[in-house]
């Protein structure tokens, strides 16, 4: 258990556990603030020949909300995560196989999608699949006064005029995925991008701490 509360950027405290599920090849449960997500990764698996790809592994992402019927926005989340993981996973090492990522939402108190992406990345690290780079998602909100808030809480998201979420890779800190709500100016966008890029270091450090302590345990 590693809890972090960093001073410069103040991300919400993160808490993570690897290998939460023993039947999956890799799994992780991550809490960022009050938002909690559980992710399981299975792969490479034997799949139907119709969905096999000669060049790389076929990625399947299933997002399951807490209760109720599946919605269109679940499909959108699946799509964002699949495309992000497609760049992160070294898929060409596993041709004609499938990789299944299953996500279960446990608590949603704002910033569900970034938490999901971070948790997915930890589960992928846990599963031992080859990856090009790891990814870190950071969100920020623009409040009515025009201030940028990194890693906003649920109340701050509700009152914000715009929210922006960015996913960076660990090697060049380039933008892999991004999405936004609300309207904002170009200058605000640039500033948000740079500040989130800097804050992503905290997430990468958190990954390192988790993996280091995990390696010590199994060492």
């Amino acid at each position: 258990m590693v809890e972090e509360d960093l001073k410069d950027f103040k991300l919400k405290p993160m808490k993570c556990e690897l290998n939460f599920l023993n039947k999956s090849d890799g799994s992780a449960i991550l809490a960022q603030g009050e938002t909690v997500v559980l992710v399981s990764v299975n792969g490479p698996l034997d799949i139907k020949s119709t969905s096999q790809n000669m060049e790389k592994a076929t990625l399947e992402v299933i997002f399951s909300s807490k209760g109720g019927k599946p919605t269109v926005s679940d499909r959108f989340k699946e799509n964002v995560i699949r495309q992000t993981c497609e760049t992160a996973i070294f898929g060409c090492l596993y041709p004609r196989t499938g990789i299944t990522i299953t996500i279960q939402e446990l608590e949603d108190y704002g910033g569900l999608l970034p938490t999901t992406i971070n948790c997915t990345c930890l589960a992928l690290l846990n599963s031992g699949l080859a990856m090009r780079h790891v990814v870190a998602a950071v969100g920020c909100a623009l409040d009515e006064a025009g201030n940028l808030i990194i890693d906003p809480t649920n109340d701050q998201i509700q009152t914000a005029t715009a929210t922006m979420y960015f996913v960076f890779d660990s090697r060049e800190k380039n933008l892999v995925t991004g999405f936004s709500t609300g309207t904002f100016g170009e200058g605000v966008y640039d500033e948000a991008l740079e500040r989130c890029r800097a804050a992503s270091d905290l997430v990468f450090n958190f990954y390192r701490d988790i993996v280091a302590s995990y390696c010590n345990v199994i060492g």
């Binding site: 258990m1 556990e17 809490a31 299933i62 399951s64 807490k66 279960q104 608590e107 345990v217």
Partner: protein
């Protein structure tokens, strides 16, 4: 992905072990794995675990029009989902035999046993009733899904509170949780499903694990034809409300009787655990403690590669050498400021091929000795 088949040698080993009076994880025939129930921040949201089997249940409600034949009753709907998260062989978004089976058993246990007061869910006769939906999601499948799912369903139903409603003329006002205290669901009785695996003709095993379930459902040789899973639903008054047998026919009635007797004892214990955990959760909430699923994140599982996965242990087996080694390892853990699990009274020994490497480090080919040991018995 296709399901991994249990090999013949595994089958024979498990079968032999059980007939000689032992179980793979060192439990007695009647012993169950650890129960744990944790609640989420919403009412009616809980994760139940039985050993490594984990099931999440979430209750939600909405106002709908009642069915025409029952105009003054609310609706209870149970939906079970088994995705690839439970185990890699399951496919997503598809009804499999297992989901239909689980769904039907839970419906029998909670809907058909009339444990919920459906009439209290009525708001306006023939117009508006509450529809209660239970979403049961299997997170990890390590045997005895039905028992774990039923604990999760029961706990979430008992934990759930629906918003209060007032009628003003034609209008129905649904109050938010802050306006008026929500109302708990009325449960007449608390039924729970318990699983028994039948080995041979007269061995009854409580709370079978994944491999025990797989072995008892497959026939090893001609001598051992009997074998199956018996599910007993029972409430806190020791009244059976569900019986279900899968697998081969059983030879004597006695075994069912034995199972019901054993279930009534065990069921009482489980229902007490459920009730206790709901009461303790309630007092915490009254103290305005923030309950959240993040509390279930601990460091325990990070060690699963060395301990949790090795839930295989044998009784009456001791070597001092092995103990020393594991103590050394724990010292290492201490340095890393990680909480240590208490050393169990049994020695932990690996038999799975994956874990052999780790074992090789802790002891010198220890498990060959064990297998010979158990063979002698």
């Amino acid at each position: 992905m296709k399901e991994t088949i249990v090999s013949n040698s595994e089958k024979a080993f498990v079968q032999k072990l059980i007939t000689s009076g032992h179980r793979l994880d060192g439990r007695t025939y009647k012993e169950t794995r650890n129960h744990q129930i944790s609640f989420g921040s919403d009412y009616g949201s809980c994760i139940a675990s039985l050993g490594e089997t984990k099931v999440m249940a979430q209750v939600s409600c909405e106002v709908v029009q009642p069915k025409q034949i029952r105009p003054n009753e609310g609706i209870l709907y149970i939906n079970v989902e088994v995705g690839p998260m439970a185990a890699p062989q399951f496919e997503a978004n598809r009804q499999s035999d297992l989901t239909v089976y689980l769904n039907r058993l839970l419906e029998k246990c909670y809907k058909d046993s009339k444990c919920i007061d459906l009439e209290s869910l009525c708001i306006v006769v023939e117009e508006k009733v509450w529809s209660i939906r239970v979403d049961v999601k299997i997170l990890n499948h390590d045997g005895n899904l039905i028992e774990c799912a039923s604990i999760a369903t029961l706990a979430s139903l008992a934990h759930f509170k629906r918003p209060d409603v007032t009628r003003a003329g034609d209008k129905v006002i649904i109050h938010t949780m802050t306006e008026k205290d929500p109302i708990p669901t009325v449960l007449y009785h608390y039924p729970v499903c318990l699983t028994f695996a039948i080995f041979g003709s007269d061995i009854l095993i409580s709370d079978p694990s994944y491999i025990e379930e797989a072995v008892c459902m497959s026939v090893v040789d001609e001598d051992n034809v009997g074998g199956g899973l018996l599910v007993v639903g029972i409430n806190q008054y020791k009244e059976p409300c569900l019986l279900d047998l899968t697998g081969a026919a059983i030879h004597s009635v006695n075994i069912v009787h034995k199972a019901i007797l054993s279930a009534s004892e065990r069921g009482k214990l489980i229902i007490d655990i459920v009730k206790k955990s709901i009461i303790s959760d309630d007092t915490l909430r009254q103290k305005r403690a923030r309950i959240n699923y993040k509390d279930i994140i601990t460091n325990e599982h990070r060690q699963s590669l060395i301990r949790k996965e090795l839930s295989i242990r044998l009784k009456n087996f001791n070597t001092n050498e092995l103990k020393q080694e594991s103590e050394e390892e724990m010292d290492q853990d201490d340095d890393d400021d990680v909480k240590i699990i208490e050393p169990s009274k049994y020695d932990i020994v690996a038999t799975l091929p994956k874990t052999a490497e780790i074992n090789a480090k802790t002891g010198k080919s220890a498990w060959i000795e064990i297998s010979s040991d158990s063979e002698v018995e």
